[in-house]
Symmetry: C2
Subunit: 422 residues, 2 copies
Amino acid sequence: MQKSSFQPLTVETLPARLSTIAAVADKVGPEPERWTVQEVGDGNLNLVFIVDGEKGSVVVKQALPYVRLVGDSWPLPLKRSFFEYHALTRQAERAPGTVPAVYYFDEAQALIVMEYLSPHIILRRALIKGEELPKIAEDLGLFMARTLFRGSDLHMETRARKTDLALFADNTELCDITENLVFTDPYFDAPMNRHTPELDPLVAELRADRDLKVEAQRMKHLFASKAETLVHGDLHTGSVMVTGEDTRVIDPEFAFYGPIAFDVGMLLANYWMAFFSQKGHEAGGSRASMRAYLLKVIEETWTTFRAEFARLWRTERTGMLYHRSLYEDQGDTLAAEQALGHVLHEVWTDMLGFAGVEMHRRILGLAHNADFEEIEDTGLRAGCEAAALRFGRHIAVNRRHIASLAEINHLAQQLDESAAVS
Amino acid sequence: MQKSSFQPLTVETLPARLSTIAAVADKVGPEPERWTVQEVGDGNLNLVFIVDGEKGSVVVKQALPYVRLVGDSWPLPLKRSFFEYHALTRQAERAPGTVPAVYYFDEAQALIVMEYLSPHIILRRALIKGEELPKIAEDLGLFMARTLFRGSDLHMETRARKTDLALFADNTELCDITENLVFTDPYFDAPMNRHTPELDPLVAELRADRDLKVEAQRMKHLFASKAETLVHGDLHTGSVMVTGEDTRVIDPEFAFYGPIAFDVGMLLANYWMAFFSQKGHEAGGSRASMRAYLLKVIEETWTTFRAEFARLWRTERTGMLYHRSLYEDQGDTLAAEQALGHVLHEVWTDMLGFAGVEMHRRILGLAHNADFEEIEDTGLRAGCEAAALRFGRHIAVNRRHIASLAEINHLAQQLDESAAVS
């Protein structure tokens, strides 16, 4: 394969271009004429191929120099593939077994050849179908605690962290997407926004809501300046592939050094949206059990995250922050516990802010969630979305005064029950 | 001058090496044999020469590949000169007239040729002598507001800010000095620490003070992760040169992307230490007026900083944070004011934390202040230092619950009056 100028792969050209790469031929088989290739990219940004051969299958993901969803009017750097590759390798080290194995990376062609996950499906699709997956809370709670703790100054050698910070600081365009599409555009009449028409009055109310708009920008301020750890950056339920037994996190091209709370807030927001969307998916039967399951997943994800973060704090706090020399080494274990309490409390309050804003942008901004979008009756959909919007506003604005997930999940249930079904 | 390998300048070699540089010869004069050169570096890190000639004078500052104070057992990268140069040029743009003009920079030789400031003296020396300089509060309040606001996402284009963040992220060794010497070493029995012997009981008390040690590390966490703006990084009274009419900030080699509050807290801490040291400098007469002057400078510096930051917020908020599209453009000016209040309140509480910690490290750590060091009577000195230590502990631990500088300056007066003079 030529290392020269970028060329998008096609189903036809892929075998010839990749068969000379030993790492790929080893996995798929030595004879490219016996490979079958499907293009399956349903995302917004990239080409994704599944390549099958005698020996096995791989996934080939290639970035395009623009946003696939929009076309070449919205250019986007190929370098996002570089950031995805580097994020995948770091996540694999920090939380082994949670991301697809990478077999090959070509920076110039912006392509990554990686493990084909089967029979995995996208978590969002499973939740829309009403599947109660038994392992996601524990697996993703651990994934977040491990990657976020181990990528920070709580664990890493600080020069290595600063070098990585500088490396990922160049992921400007993808950060810019989040900065604008998540934190700003939903709160005014930005050109790319759209929302279910029945929401008009509520949208007007939210866009006139001073406290909400101040808080949303404070979250943006945190997002842009709190460079604590390497975050996934786009950890919604569409970035997770699952079976009943296995959970894998994919697509970390938005990775950068940001706040620990960001991934946590985004993931829980997507569970809450799944929860509020259930009313729209009851044609095939009641979703009462699914609702209870989703609230339980939210609580357990947070509990697992918190417990694992605390375990790593006690056993792997080898970085320069809150160093043992000041605490345990002086016989003051409670000082380390006191500091842990402060750090986790800040993750908690920030997480609620990020979650609230994420719920708004998925209903008011450019990129919507299938959970709501697939509810065809727009009145029904608007009812679900309205409850989610109100809930998001509540947790974002009141994030410093919310005591527990039990409390806010109770609020979610109340809002869901009283949601207007016009 | 050869661009090749690094060679330290000497008084003897300097004229021959620098006379071929037009920017230097223009300022000093074309005939190097008529130059006179003095080495005046009294700092801890670098060589500093004053070069005089027929046409005028310049300062030549050259980094050494180790800490001058300690010797070559403590290596330190020459690249700090690169960071100093880049910080100086940015500060000159953002706050014109507040830093020495740069005439020439040689990265390989780690040297900067800059404006010779005369008859300026180091602000710390002026304060020790009891000089009441009329302009420092306004000048430094403006300097901080302008450099810190204009180097942030409140004002800059975000790609430019992220590029700069990555550039300065490599200033690891100098950040590491601050991280260890300011936030950690003073709070345990670290090898390079020293303190006035009479302080032993209080030092033991502080090193067993759980709340203080947790808060000090929370400040370190902020220092290391809150990448808001390009900070000076070492803005104490030894980094400022003054006359009655002019104020210049020098030595920004510790510059990096950090919290807005860091420079503010460090500067005010050094004023408070000057205040608490006055009792040790009364051999030549009462320092009552100087004490009142210093507390007034502290209040006015903060008031000026706050007012100028607010003015820039209202007139130059062109960056991606708290964008006008959400606030003023929707007729909601109060929303922008509300957000400003939040941002300034956070600078306030963080500033108090950084100030408290800075006061501790200057009394308990490696690098002490002449304000206290020049008090020969160690009992008298310890009394001054003890009041400063107690004050620093109070403002660091209680930083979220302190309402005004009037209130804490009143506390400073009380502590100063009751300080033990053994």
